[in-house]
């Protein structure tokens, strides 16, 4: 398995697009968070920055990071089918599940590291900048701050799992990436709203996979819908199901 992990790591890091997406995934949330800390850090009035605002900005922008990590994970497998490299891959390792596990592990660890980097630099950099500008930033004052930041890292990991699962099932980069973007941003809202109309229950959309997963990154507490843990579990369960079904399909189909 170590050999396969090494092989998949070489594959992942030797494609320029992964570096481009990975860098954007790190830079975008950091730029927004650090600029927010700088420009709102010296405002002591109504718009003044507090700990909750800083953490919300950081975890909120990490959602974009998670989407990009999902794209990296999806492309890690769809590009194999697109360029035909899945055939030399399986010709070098006929036990397909071992390849898929190795690829999944390498992708998951890489994207989780990206998420952790964003949160670590975002929090320590953002809080330092805001404090230097006069804002009062203390982690201990908001009890949901740490869970939200850990949740943001988990969201990145789960999103990459979902992307990987979609890639395994669809085999096509455009199809998998489109689904990955359209589903959370458009489809869930529409389907949740429609189900709400039919059943008369207003909060159904908050149980949709991505919306449920988003609960992990929120600093606010919710009176209705899934808790942080339950929401994360729903999204992770769906992502794992996608990976399981996709792996099964790839194992059985012609390569």
């Amino acid at each position: 398995m170590i050999n396969l992990l090494r092989a998949e790591w070489i594959k992942l890091r030797t494609v320029r697009m992964n570096w481009v997406l990975g860098n954007i995934a790190i830079v975008f949330p950091l730029v927004v968070t650090l600029l927010t800390a700088y420009f709102r850090g010296d405002d002591t009035g109504f718009n003044g920055l507090n700990t909750q605002d800083l953490v919300s900005t950081l975890t909120g922008t990490t959602v974009v990071c998670s989407l990009l990590c999902g794209v990296i994970a999806a492309a890690a497998i769809t590009s194999e089918f697109g360029f035909g490299t899945i055939r030399p891959t399986f010709a070098a390792t006929p036990r397909r599940l071992r390849v898929l596990v190795a690829k999944g592990v390498v992708t998951l660890l890489t994207t989780t590291a990206i998420g952790a980097t964003v949160i670590a630099i975002g929090w320590f950099g953002g809080s330092s900048i805001a404090r230097s500008r006069g804002a009062s930033i203390e982690l201990s004052t908001v009890d949901t701050a740490v869970p939200a930041m850990v949740g943001a890292i988990v969201l990145v990991a789960v999103m990459s799992l979902a992307g990987y699962g979609l890639g395994l099932l669809m085999r096509s980069t455009p199809a998998a990436v489109a689904t990955l973007i359209v589903w959370p941003l458009i489809a869930e809202g529409l389907i949740g709203g429609l189900l709400g109309l039919i059943t008369g229950k207003k909060n159904l959309s908050s149980w949709m996979p991505f919306q449920a997963g988003l609960r992990m990154v929120f600093v606010d507490r919710f009176a209705e819908g899934p808790s942080r843990l339950a929401g994360g579990a729903v999204f992770a369960g769906v992502a794992l199901l996608l990976v399981a079904l996709g792996s099964l399909a790839v194992s059985r189909r012609d390569a």
């Binding site: 050999n3 396969l4 090494r6 092989a7 998949e8 070489i10 594959k11 030797t14 494609v15 320029r16 697009m17 590009s79 360029f83 035909g84 490299t85 055939r87 030399p88 891959t89 399986f90 010709a91 070098a92 390792t93 006929p94 036990r95 059985r252 189909r253 012609d254 390569a255």
Partner: protein, 306 residues
């Protein structure tokens, strides 16, 4: 040794490989021939378990492909030189392949040197010509120093020097006792490098044997006769049931008779012969003869002029 037994593969309603069975022995290059759509590539993919066969088994030195722990040491395969990520360098392509089977990095540099790609190893594959991709693919085949080599159209896109090089490589590998199976549409190349032959059509085995036997059995034979008094031979040859194809005023191609008979007829009439040589058709002739009924796609005749 490769042993293929009762291999069957269907795509929807189309039977691509139909209970195909053959053996490929070590020590010689074996050509794998068939018309377009005859199932050669599908057979190779099924042998490597990339396509799921409905039935049948393929054994490499007695073992199924899926049971090989590090297959690059046993089976090196090049199914399509295009199966490379265009954004990755040639060296990195070989590095992940080597890593997957626990091969050291220095082996990558060795095979790059062997195929003559060292100077462009760091360039992205999208900048490679088809011939360079074929060389890169062959480098991947050689990575694990395998006992069995399977190549699908390896000479595609190669220039004459490249074609000769690949022929030399394959015959050298076979001479070392390896099992070499190579499919190609370049029958002249197969005739030069292969000793054994497997011919399939519409997914079924049509012939298996040596190239020499195949040509002997299926290619047309005739005698080329050249003489200043050649027309004196017309009547006696026709009386012997021979047919004559006139090439020019002094040269004929005679079918239905052998050179000994023709020589004796000429001697009896004191006809001077400049040439009396038995001719045999090419591998291409024999191939077209055998596969005539199994052609999936047929070309129309091209008439001269527009």
């Amino acid at each position: 040794m490769i042993t293929v037994g009762d291999l069957t593969k269907r795509f929807g309603s189309k039977l691509a490989v139909d209970h195909l069975g053959f053996e490929v022995r070590p020590g010689v290059v074996t050509g794998f021939l068939g018309p377009n759509g005859s199932g050669k590539s599908t057979t190779m993919r099924c042998m490597l378990e990339l396509d799921r066969a409905e039935s049948g088994t393929t054994l490499f030195d007695g073992r199924r492909f899926r049971d090989l722990d590090q297959p690059l040491h046993q089976v090196g395969a090049l199914l399509d030189a295009g199966y490379v990520h265009p954004g990755r360098s040639g060296r990195n392509h070989l590095r992940w392949l080597a890593a997957s089977n626990g091969l050291p990095r220095r082996r990558v540099d060795e095979v790059l040197e062997l195929v003559g790609l060292t100077s462009v190893a760091g360039a992205r594959v999208r900048t490679y010509s088809l011939g360079m991709k074929q060389r890169l693919g062959l480098a991947g085949v050689l990575l694990g120093d395998p006992t069995t080599v399977i190549l699908d159209e390896p000479a595609n896109g190669l220039d004459p020097e490249g074609i000769r090089w690949i022929r030399d490589v394959l015959t050298h590998l076979a001479s070392q006792g390896r099992t070499v199976l190579v499919s190609s549409h370049q029958l002249s190349e197969i005739a030069l490098m292969a000793h054994d032959l497997i011919v399939i059509g519409q997914g079924r085995l049509l012939e298996q044997g040596t190239v020499a036997e195949f040509v002997e059995r299926h290619a047309e034979r005739w005698v080329r006769v050249q003489s200043p008094g050649i027309f004196e031979l017309q009547q006696p040859l026709e009386q012997h049931g021979a047919t004559i194809e006139v090439i020019d005023d002094t040269t004929w191609h005679v079918r239905g008779s052998d050179s000994r008979t023709i020589g004796e007829l000429a001697a009896a009439r004191s006809v001077v012969l400049y040439e009396l040589s038995p001719q045999t058709g090419s591998l291409e002739d024999a191939f077209l003869q055998v596969t005539a009924a199994a052609q999936e796609y047929r070309s129309g005749h091209v008439d001269g002029g527009a």
